[in-house]
């Protein structure tokens, strides 16, 4: 857990007819990140041919995307993984595509019907738009008779064709349909002796066609009377009725679309899984090389899985195979160059949110420290110090728990879990500070942060704001020192002796920093009056500084020996001066940077104090609804603003002050091909 997993490289030669079986077996155990033979054994790779899979993979990916698109149309999420779907050697993608074509065609049929309905909707909407202009109140839609009278009286209906008359009742529905096709509506005003007395509203531009339809329907025109207010249906209401009915019909078609996709859901999901398995198989086969009888495959495996991979592979190959295992160091010895070994970070589930923070920065170099557990501690301590309130912590935990239920995306899910951790840190620090939603419900176990910031007399190790600042500077010294120590361990493990001693985060840089911290501590202990005796500190700083200068001539000499060009003495001095500047000002800035932890913590307290004062000003000496609202709002604001600030600042301190000391983010993530592999 503290270092990246040890990896080993497998090269397997199997009979060509067993290649698929072996690939499938390795896919199922999901422990191998495959590599091409040309990368690890270029000579052998040149003798064999690689397997071409690109075209087939592109075809499969396209078909899979089609399925995903149709599932989305049906409101169904695509499957996340393939589960235990078997690999089907005879899988026919053309057959799947033909099925999808048929389904897409069916969907298009519904869409076409929807489009027909939309055309009717468009026409009625057009008439409605004109009618609305004459409505007593724009957008009113209800007072139909008033609207109709308004229309009649205004005489200003220049775009509307308005007719009044009788139609035989048995021809009314046909006429209604035909008029609807001409952007018009028929309103039945009354019924008399087998006839419907109707008001016909259409667009004037279609007057000729409306006239034809009405004539064919036996329409007999009448003078438009002054209609009683209670008479007839509302024109806009009638239009809305029709629109509602048409939209319902349209929705039904949309629901039908979802239904037909839903009916085929299991088939589509099954196809998706089968395709995915074949895609994964091809991604393995694409990395293999072949001769007429043999297939060679290779890749990186975590050392602890070596035995399992070997037994599965031998079984799949029917024992007819040759296996070779090489450590990264063996590769290095043989090829004379360092291999790019994939890096597996292996942390327990509960540390995954912090692993996410690490990988967001980068993947550590192979063989070095996996900073995840250290980040967990450092991040939570910093967050707790900045956001120490048990009540606020409880809210964060509740929000985090809600997030884990609601958030589906892996990143957001881990972020929610991180929120739970942060809430826990806030509760612990809140109990130590005696802070519960800004109140001191229980005495502080360590020191009363609110009291100290407010200037109340306090005893113990932290008595005033200066003490809080010192505490955070000490935290900074601890974090930076830990970072340096971790860097030295990393350099020893990677046998990078030069960086161990001569890099600015190396041993010499560490001695300078340690001495600087000691001098600063003594100076502070004397009340910022006297520096300590420099007979010890002086040489401890000067000697490393001189040695760090001497490395430049040595580097130049080494460069010349290997046929290169060494820098000139002027450049040595320039480089050395810059490095010294980086060491002295950089370490100072890095350490003081931790004072932001105090700054954020103090801001957290002061904001709460401010809201308490506002509440007190609103209702002096008592509690009122308004003062409670102010306090609720204040707490919510502090949780949102300070929570975000504390989270970001903790991350920043980890990334720039801690990681910069020991973390080389040049690794490549270990991505074994497995049935769980995401696209």
């Amino acid at each position: 857990m503290i270092f990246t997993s040890e990896m080993i490289h497998l090269t397997a030669i199997v009979l060509r007819e067993r290649a698929d079986a072996v690939s499938e077996a390795l896919l199922r155990i999901g422990a191998v990140q495959f590599s091409r033979l040309a990368e690890t054994a270029p000579d052998l790779g040149a003798l064999m041919s690689s397997v071409s899979v690109d075209e087939r993979r592109a075809e499969l990916a396209e078909t899979r995307r089609r399925i995903e698109s149709l599932l989305t149309l049906g409101g169904i999420a695509s499957p996340a993984a393939v589960g235990d779907t078997p690999w089907d050697a005879s899988f026919d993608v053309a057959e799947v595509n033909a099925r999808i074509d048929r389904l897409a065609h069916e969907v298009e049929r519904f869409r076409s019907r929807q489009a027909d309905i939309q055309r009717q909707i468009n026409r009625i909407t057009d008439v409605r738009r004109q009618l609305e202009a004459f409505a007593p109140a724009a957008g009113a839609g209800g007072d139909a008779s008033a609207l109709t009278n308004n229309l009649m009286r205004s005489g200003n209906h220049q775009y509307l064709d308005i007719r009044y008359g009788r139609i035989p009742e048995n021809r009314l529905s046909d006429a209604d349909r035909a008029i609807a096709g001409q952007a018009g509506i028929i309103m039945t005003m009354s019924r008399e002796g087998g006839d419907a007395v109707v008001l016909v509203l259409a667009m004037k531009r279609n007057a000729a066609e409306v006239q034809r339809i009405l004539s064919e329907s036996g329409f007999r025109a009448m003078d438009i009377p002054k209609l009683p207010d209670e008479a007839g249906e509302g024109a806009i209401g009638r239009a809305d009725e029709k629109l509602t009915a048409l939209r319902a019909e349209q929705d039904e078609q949309a629901a039908n679309t979802r239904a037909i996709i839903s009916d085929r859901r299991s088939e589509l999901e099954s196809d998706w899984r089968r395709i995915r398995v074949v895609e994964l198989m091809l991604s393995i086969r694409g990395m293999t090389s072949e001769s007429s009888h043999a297939t060679v495959l290779g890749g990186w495996v975590p050392l602890r899985k070596r035995d399992r991979v070997e037994s599965v592979l031998r079984a799949a190959a029917g024992e007819a195979c040759v296996l070779e295992w090489h450590t990264p160091a063996e590769f290095g010895r043989e090829s004379g160059k360092r291999m790019r070994v994939p890096v597996e970070l292996r942390n327990p589930q509960f540390l995954r949110p912090f692993q996410m923070l690490v990988t967001n920065f980068g993947v550590p170099e192979y063989g070095t420290i996996d900073p995840t557990p250290l980040v967990a501690v450092a991040y939570l301590v910093m967050f707790g110090l900045m956001f120490g309130d048990a009540g606020h912590g409880l809210i964060l935990i509740l929000l985090g728990l809600l997030g884990t239920k609601v958030m589906k995306k892996p990143g957001m899910y881990q972020l929610s879990k991180l929120l739970i951790w942060c809430g826990g840190a806030s509760i612990v620090m809140g109990v130590l500070f005696g802070a519960y939603f800004g109140y001191e419900l229980m005495p502080a176990l360590w020191f009363n942060y609110h009291g100290v910031v407010a200037g109340h007399p306090s005893h113990g190790s932290i008595a005033n704001i200066m003490d809080i600042l010192k505490l955070t500077v000490l935290l900074g010294v601890g974090v930076i020192s830990a970072g340096l120590l971790l860097n030295w361990i990393n350099r020893i493990r990677t046998r990078d002796w030069k960086a161990l001693f001569f890099a600015k985060e190396g041993v010499l840089g560490g001695i300078i920093y340690g001495t600087g911290v000691w001098v600063a501590y003594q100076f502070s202990a004397s009340g910022f009056r006297f520096f300590p005796d420099l007979s010890v500190a002086g040489p401890l700083i000067l000697v490393p500084v001189i040695i760090l200068f001497l490395k430049f001539p040595f580097e130049a000499a080494a460069a010349k020996r290997s046929g290169g060009h060494g820098h000139s003495p002027l450049m040595w001095i320039m480089d050395w001066a810059i490095e010294m500047l980086e060491i002295f000002s950089g370490y100072l800035a890095n350490t003081l940077s931790f004072m932001r932890v105090a700054g954020l913590g103090i801001a957290h307290v002061m904001l709460m104090v401010a809201f308490f004062q506002i509440a007190e000003m609103i209702s002096p000496g008592r509690t009122s609804i308004l003062s409670i609202i102010v306090l609720l709002f204040g707490n919510a604001l502090v949780i949102a603003l300070e929570g975000l600030s504390a989270g970001i600042q903790s991350l920043r301190l980890n990334y720039y002050e801690f990681f910069s000391k020991y973390f080389t983010p040049t690794g490549i993530e270990f991505r074994p091909v497995s049935l769980e592999t995401q696209r």
């Binding site: 149709l70 989305t72 999808i100 074509d101 897409a104 929807q114 055309r119 909707i121 057009d126």
Partner: protein, 357 residues
């Protein structure tokens, strides 16, 4: 009043727009639409983009034109929202640029009126696809569509700056029988007010804006000159082209206007940079090669514009260039998206659609 520095003027909007530029659709996306095997799947690809609302419209209505209208509405909405981030110093210029939406709406309404009144065709199925609401800024688009005469249209536009350029040309409609003069009058008015607004910018911004707009104008001039040859004689040269082009000089446009082979004249004026287009003779022209060469020329001008946009974005970030480049890129994205969707809807082979990109 103290002038604000370019950094304080453009810093915020520049950061905002660069973030938005990174979300523009890339060629792979269009290729994905082109290669999808059905229109339903093509529209489905919009679901995970900023045009998801357009995909929803299609899913609800099955109406591709409404889907397109929604895309255009989203474009207008995006640029309207952008307005609140535009620095005051260049607001009048950006407002002048955004007037093209109003002009497009007026043109659309007048075209529908023309279809109905002059050509006597039914427009019932076209009226719903007029952009109305806020984008029209109160212009009575339905009244224009339903107007009885050109005088009525002019009256309906009174109070808007379009009444004057449009009214004069609409009055000539009985003689010309074409909307070309009216539309180009609106375009001329658009660029006139745009160049007037350019004068409110500082000299560096003015130079950048003139350069970018110049190629846009060249593209439009080429398209107009070639496509409206048959109206030559009914409209004066001065009224038929837009001033302010960058690559094609006014005298070359005039020669093209007077030439029997305007495309050849323009290609010749552009010199060796369009060598691949030159040398095609009358034979090819007769066999439809002219359209191909015209689209190649338009492509070339588009490539010049793209190059200028990229160069502007890669240069000093604190100029009007970023704003103008974003507007142009967004408009190009919308045009491309609508073209590709239409091509897909009309079942063009994917190779042909890819050729459009």
């Amino acid at each position: 009043m103290k002038m604000r520095s370019p950094v304080s003027t453009y810093a915020f909007v520049n950061a905002k727009l660069r973030a938005r530029i990174s979300t523009l659709l890339d060629e792979q996306f269009y290729l994905g639409i082109a290669r999808s095997r059905s229109f339903v799947e093509a529209v489905g690809m919009l679901q995970n983009t900023k045009y998801a609302a357009a995909a929803d419209v299609y899913t609800r209505t099955g109406d591709v034109k409404l889907c397109e209208l929604e895309i255009v509405r989203l474009e207008w909405e995006t640029l309207s929202m952008l307005r609140k981030h535009i620095p005051n110093a260049v607001l009048s210029f950006s407002d002048a640029v955004l007037r093209r939406y109003e002009i497009a709406i007026v043109k659309h309404a007048v075209r529908l009126w023309f279809e109905r009144v002059i050509r006597g065709r039914s427009i019932d199925d076209k009226v719903p696809y007029l952009l109305r609401d806020d984008a029209a800024h109160g212009i009575a688009v339905d009244a224009i569509v339903n107007a009885g005469s050109t005088e009525q249209i002019t009256a309906l536009l009174s109070g808007y700056p379009y009444a004057e350029p449009l009214g004069k040309r609409l009055a000539e409609l009985p003689e010309t029988g074409s909307l070309y003069a009216a539309e180009i009058a609106l375009d001329r008015w658009y660029y006139d007010q745009l160049f007037a607004a350019l004068k409110t910018l500082d000299s560096r911004d003015e130079r950048i804006a003139r350069s970018l707009l110049g190629v846009e104008i060249d593209t439009q001039n080429v398209a107009w000159l070639i496509r409206i040859r048959r109206y030559r004689g009914t409209i004066r040269f001065e009224d038929s082209v837009l001033p302010g082009g960058r690559l094609i000089a006014a005298r070359d446009l005039k020669s093209a206007y007077e030439s029997e082979r305007p495309l050849d004249t323009i290609i010749a004026s552009l010199g060796p940079r369009v060598g691949v287009l030159s040398g095609s003779g009358a034979q090819e022209e007769e066999s439809g090669g002219e359209i191909r060469r015209l689209s190649l020329l338009e492509e070339m001008l588009r490539a010049v514009l793209d190059h200028d946009i990229r160069r502007t974005l890669g240069g000093n970030p604190f100029t009007i260039g970023t704003i103008l480049a974003y507007i142009m890129l967004l408009q190009h994205e919308i045009q491309t998206l609508i073209s590709v969707l239409n091509a897909k809807y009309y079942d063009l082979p994917s190779e042909r659609i890819e050729g459009l990109l």
